[in-house]
């Protein structure tokens, strides 16, 4: 009897320990984001207060105002939005077709090509940026949004195809067969019957692509050279790379960049977690 209560107590202690550990890690995980917001609402006077405070005595939106008044930031925001949306749309288009093709057909070399895509996920972007730079400069496309859209797809298409092909494999074939009997061609069957069912898979690819394109750094750094085509990550990096950094404004700018991703992540969390583990682990 005594032993049993001992065990129960041990179990209880472990439960408490588990929660403590989880909460501690959550604190570490989210603290930088909290600190970013906290710094963003501090006036220059309170920025360097010791001891530092999480909630400033006199919170201010001044940093956000100055960021939103900065025309370069506007431009960068606009560029990032245009580029990200284009990358998401094009990646979806290419990966839906290819994912479907790989899931439904076995043709000569399809196995090799699929493995090739897995390799594609592993290629260092620093390896391909030099040739891409030359390619775009030859095509007179340097410093254009289009060049970034094309380059970003090197990162997003392989993963998109892999995720969607494993998703399509789980969609029963009978669906398209019925549609074909009703007189649909293969491609019509895909768009009218299969895609509506494949929505969750497409949403996870869209989110994955969005996050990647929104934060893409190396390509943007080298393919865009003027403030006309610069994206948000580059703008932020230049902000915080200055000698005398205005941390309040930098953190406000960072918060503006982080907000869309955090929102989308919160809203679509369900799809996201599922799709990610499907794509990366099953291959």
């Amino acid at each position: 009897m005594k032993k049993k209560t001992g065990l129960a107590e041990k179990g209880k202690a472990w439960r408490i320990a588990t929660y403590v550990l989880l909460l501690f890690m959550i604190l570490i995980a989210v603290f930088p984001a909290i600190w970013m917001l906290s710094t963003a609402i501090k006036s220059p006077v309170e920025l360097y207060d010791m001891p530092p405070e999480i909630i400033p005595d006199e919170p201010t939106l001044g940093n956000f105002v100055s960021v939103l008044q900065n025309s370069k930031m506007y431009r960068a925001f606009f560029n990032s939005v245009v580029i990200t949306i284009s990358v998401v749309a094009l990646t979806l288009f290419f990966s839906v077709l290819a994912g479907y093709g790989f899931a439904r057909f076995k043709f000569k070399g399809s196995g090799v090509l699929k493995v090739g895509l897995l390799f594609g996920q592993m290629i260092p972007s620093v390896v391909i940026i030099i040739p891409l730079y030359f390619l775009f400069s030859k095509m007179k496309m340097l410093n254009s949004r289009a060049s970034l859209v094309v380059a970003d797809m090197a990162l997003t298409i392989p993963m998109g195809v892999i995720m969607l092909s494993s998703f399509f494999e789980s969609v029963p074939r009978q669906l398209e067969e019925a549609a074909k009997i009703d007189g649909c061609t293969g491609i019509q069957a895909l768009f009218r019957v299969v895609l509506p069912v494949a929505k969750p898979g497409m949403i996870s690819v869209a989110i994955y692509t969005f996050i990647n394109a929104w934060e893409e750094f190396l390509f943007a750094l080298n393919l865009t050279t003027s403030s006309k085509t610069r994206t948000l990550p580059i703008a932020i990096s230049m902000f915080s790379g200055e000698f005398a950094v205005d941390w309040g404004a930098t953190m406000a700018a960072a918060a503006v960049v982080a907000l869309p991703v955090l929102l989308i992540f919160l809203l679509c969390n369900r799809y996201f977690v599922q799709g990610l583990s499907d794509g990366a682990v099953k291959g």
């Binding site: 959550i26 995980a29 984001a33």
Partner: protein, 292 residues
């Protein structure tokens, strides 16, 4: 267009493959070729140089240094990313834990935040005079004097690794948690009936079931860390005194500050080969996983 081609389904994959060929295959082949040519911004035309640039790289102490920095950076990061992610997955997976979805969302925040944002915030937290890290560590008595985390050679690499671990452990956690959900409950229950202890169950039931996914996550982390560029670029720029200059950073500097594209391509090729060797193992593992 022949009917046979249409029916084979190859047309579906052609657009994506054409894109991949343009933005990946072409650049790779180009890099490989250019690595045998001397090619800087200041030359009219590239000159064939054989393996000369590879030889020069091995004699360049900054390149050799970048290899050892890469080893420290990669193994240091991946070891802690994996250990931490694995431990968190086990904690979170326990049956009694309530509110898993919410806990998971919070834990995933570092992974969702763009790396540039992560770099900017950590740079501010590492700030020598006003950074919160120095303040906290001094308050709890770990350090007695403010440290210049990112600008002294002793601590720079460690500081960047910490940021990289913070960013990627959630991904490892998510993947391993997904694997844990696939472990057969019946087998576990049977083991309990047989009187197996927790550790035995883990070793004999859980581990064999999740091992393949653990290995693939491990290899993915290795390749991603080898390729990681954003943190190093934004936090230290490879400095101070080249102490955080990993291979990706070296290549970037050779190409876009020294404009020596030939040398950069030779170094790229070496990095690429290393990544491909790791990928080969990864692909063999995922294929085996499929077969099971």
């Amino acid at each position: 267009m022949g009917k046979k081609v249409r029916q084979s389904g190859i047309l579906y994959v052609v657009p994506a493959l054409a894109m991949v060929a343009l933005v990946m295959l072409y650049p790779l082949v180009y890099t490989l070729i250019i690595s045998f040519f001397k090619n800087t911004l200041f030359m009219k035309a590239p000159e064939f140089f054989g393996i000369g640039q590879y030889k020069a790289l091995l004699e360049d102490r900054y390149f050799v240094g970048s290899i050892s920095q890469t080893l420290v950076w990669t193994f240091g990061s991946v070891f802690f990313q994996f250990t931490l992610g694995f431990a968190m997955a086990l904690l979170l997976h326990q049956q009694f834990v309530k509110g898993k979805t919410v806990l998971r969302i919070f834990l995933m925040v570092p992974w969702v935040l763009p790396s540039v944002i992560g770099s900017a915030v950590w740079k501010w937290m590492y700030n020598a005079d006003y950074g919160i890290i120095n303040y906290v560590l001094k308050t709890i008595g770990v350090i007695s004097q403010n440290k210049t985390w990112l600008s002294s050679p002793d601590t720079a690499m460690l500081s960047v690794i910490v940021v990289n671990v913070w960013k990627m452990f959630p991904y490892v956690m998510l993947m391993i948690e997904a694997a844990l959900q696939g472990v057969s409950k019946e087998l576990k229950e049977a083991a309990v009936i047989d009187g197996a202890g927790k550790f035995e169950i883990f070793r004999n039931v859980t581990w064999p079931a999740i091992a393949p996914q653990c290995y693939s996550v491990l290899l993915l982390m290795l390749v991603w860390t080898l390729n990681a560029f954003t943190f190093v670029y934004n936090l230290t720029g490879g400095g101070p005194a080249h102490s955080t200059e990993v291979m990706a950073m070296y290549i970037y500097k050779k190409a876009f500050t020294d404009f020596d594209f030939g040398m950069a391509s030779a170094a790229s090729t070496i990095l690429f080969v290393i990544c491909m060797l790791i990928s080969l193992i990864y692909i063999r593992l995922t294929k085996e996983g499929d077969a099971q």
